[in-house]
């Protein structure tokens, strides 16, 4: 359940992208906290800077682009951390579920070997029975039969692949999961089914999640608290109920109203 302790504190984060000498500020001095066990939704249109926040937390903003400010995790600032230290956090304490589920799995690698490489490289688990046990357990959490371990990605449907990606992100018992548009390629019922599984798995494990999407209804379904972004700044943040029932900002009001037309 949601505690009061912050797992992640973001202070004055700015991210600058540069290409061909031109510089663009994708994220403009934003601050927020992520509490333990909480699901935080980040909503905004394309180009609002929401995916960039996820990248900054994972430490995958490559030069000449750079980030300034503070992302405090476990008492240390992720920004400016060297790769050796980052790799101890990355895909271990902080994991990510990527946007393009269809392309995120190696087509010539079985599902089992995907899991085993994470367990070996990141957790140092070499024991076969121990790793099998952990794989079965994570697969059961996302409602997949253990037989899918021997499958290759092309043998699975989109919804199954998406659940594999969730379990790949959950197998290290991370403190934070960053999900960047995890359900864009799925149809409505599969999308909400995958989200319900994601939500349940997280609540059971006590991990926190940052859920990045442009789809407001799915955030309302998933998140405890949400951040609305536009052009690199946070226009509104608060609990999901408050934002849906009484949006304060003009832009948020527009977002919520476009989705409620059916009701009226």
């Amino acid at each position: 359940m949601t505690g009061n302790e912050n797992v992640l504190e973001v202070r004055n984060l700015s991210v600058f992208y540069s290409s061909y000498g031109a510089q663009k500020k994708a994220v403009n001095s934003i601050s927020f906290n992520l509490k333990r066990g909480e699901i935080l939704g980040i909503v905004g249109e394309s180009g609002a800077g929401k995916s960039t926040i996820g990248k900054a937390i994972m430490g995958i903003i490559d030069p000449p682009s750079y980030a300034t400010g503070e992302i405090m995790f476990g008492g240390k600032n992720i920004i400016g951390m060297n790769n050796y230290r980052l790799n101890k956090i990355r895909w271990n304490k902080i994991t990510m579920i990527f946007q393009a589920s269809m392309n995120s799995l190696n087509p010539v690698q079985s599902i089992r070997s995907n899991f085993i490489s994470i367990l070996r490289d990141k957790m140092g688990i070499y024991d076969k029975s121990e790793s099998e046990k952990r794989i079965d357990e994570t697969l059961a959490n996302v409602n997949l039969p253990t037989g899918v371990k021997d499958y290759f990605p092309h043998e699975m449907s989109g919804g199954m692949k998406q659940r594999i990606l969730i379990s790949l992100a959950m197998i290290t018992y991370p403190e934070i999961v960053i999900a960047d548009e995890p359900t864009t390629a799925l149809d409505v019922i599969t999308e909400y089914y995958v989200l319900s599984i994601l939500k349940r798995t997280l609540k059971a494990s006590g991990s926190s999640m940052i859920y990045i999407t442009h789809d407001l209804p799915s955030v309302v379904f998933t998140a405890d608290r949400m951040i609305v972004m536009k052009d690199g700044i946070i226009v509104e943040q608060g609990s999901t109920e408050d934002i849906v029932e009484a949006p304060k900002d003009e832009y948020t009001r527009k977002l919520v109203s476009t989705l409620n037309e059916v009701k009226n």
Binding site: N143, T190, Y193, S196, H214, D215, N260, V262
Partner: protein, 324 residues
């Protein structure tokens, strides 16, 4: 739904469609009957594999039905010559990135149907039509000289829309126009489609899995599942009081209803446990394994598409009893 009225544009009668060869046949559509009336946009809603795209493609002659009859303006669709067919009906592809040649200019792309389909020899006349189409698609005339590769996704989508409407068709099938676009710009594309349908005098068939866009463009909606129409009626009527439990779920996807709704979580749990059972159910309602209300009557008898209230059809023995 079976009554032929004078303003019927498309009539689909008892159409089935099978894919694959002997021994491995997939049924995409099972005995579907539906009609599209002039100036009454229809939306087909359903999940992947429900047959909505197949039905859409059959109604504009891109796919041939295995059984049944399709009439376009009172004439059997398979009897049309291709050239005449494309003057009456057009199809807008789902993927704007794949449907536009990156090396051609917008002018070349839009001019082709004018030269070869409508055979307009006069270049002044062609230019006039080009300008009209591009402006009403929401772009300005300077776009005519841009190349396909210079356009953003949304702009490509608009060019596709302009290319379909430029021949002044009577009937346009639009396949998932909003999947590639984020939801702020989604409304703009939908509004462009609606406005162009009005001003060019075309009736639209919208294929989508996103029920939120339906009321903005379509007067009628048909919900498909496993190759059958499970609900059909006036859009607002269907969304406000859905009769089928699956439609009720789709209609519940809006912020107010999702907020802390325990019933939706239960429904999804049940879906996860039983979703593989709905394919291959031979007798009874095919939705029964997922339905919270199903009883022995539902499991043994197949519900026909029946008129539960005036002009609101559903394949359910307990219409409207389940709601979120």
């Amino acid at each position: 739904m079976n009554n032929l009225s004078s303003n019927e544009l498309v009539l689909v009668q008892n159409v089935s469609k099978f894919f694959g060869k002997k021994g491995n046949i997939v049924t995409a559509l099972q005995n579907v009957t539906i009609s599209v009336s002039q100036s009454e946009n229809l939306a087909l809603v359903g999940e992947t594999g429900s047959g909505k795209t197949t039905l859409g493609r059959i109604t504009c002659g891109l796919e041939k039905q295995s059984k049944g009859k399709v009439l376009l303006l009172g004439k059997e669709i398979n009897e049309y010559k291709k050239n005449n067919l494309w003057k009456v009906t057009q199809y807008i592809h789902q993927d704007p990135y794949g449907a536009i040649n990156p090396l051609e200019t917008v002018r070349e792309i839009l001019e082709r149907p004018l030269r070869f389909l409508l055979a307009i020899k006069n270049s002044e006349e062609r230019n006039e039509l080009l300008r009209e189409a591009i402006v009403s698609s929401g772009l300005d005339v300077s776009y005519l000289d841009k190349k396909g590769s210079d356009l953003s996704g949304g702009e490509k989508q608009r060019i596709l829309i302009a290319r379909a409407f430029i021949v002044k068709p009577k009937y346009v099938v639009v396949d998932e126009p909003t999947t590639m676009i984020d939801f702020i710009h989604r409304d703009e594309i939908i509004e462009t489609l609606r406005a162009m349908g009005n001003s060019f005098g075309a009736t639209l068939l919208l294929i989508t899995h996103d029920i939120m866009v339906v009321p903005k463009i379509a007067n009628k909606v048909a919900v498909l599942q496993t190759g059958k129409i499970i609900e059909y009626g006036e859009t607002m009527e269907v969304l406000k009081s859905p009769y089928h439990p699956y439609t009720a779920f789709l209609a519940a996807i809006n912020p107010q209803k999702l907020l802390g709704n325990k019933k939706i979580m239960d429904y999804l749990d049940n879906y996860g446990q039983n979703k593989t059972k709905i394919i291959g159910t031979d007798h009874g309602c095919s939705y029964a394994p997922l339905c919270p209300l199903a009883d022995s009557h539902c499991r043994e008898n197949v519900p026909p598409l029946m008129e539960a209230s005036s002009n609101h059809y559903v394949t359910c023995f307990k219409p409207g009893q389940f709601n979120f």
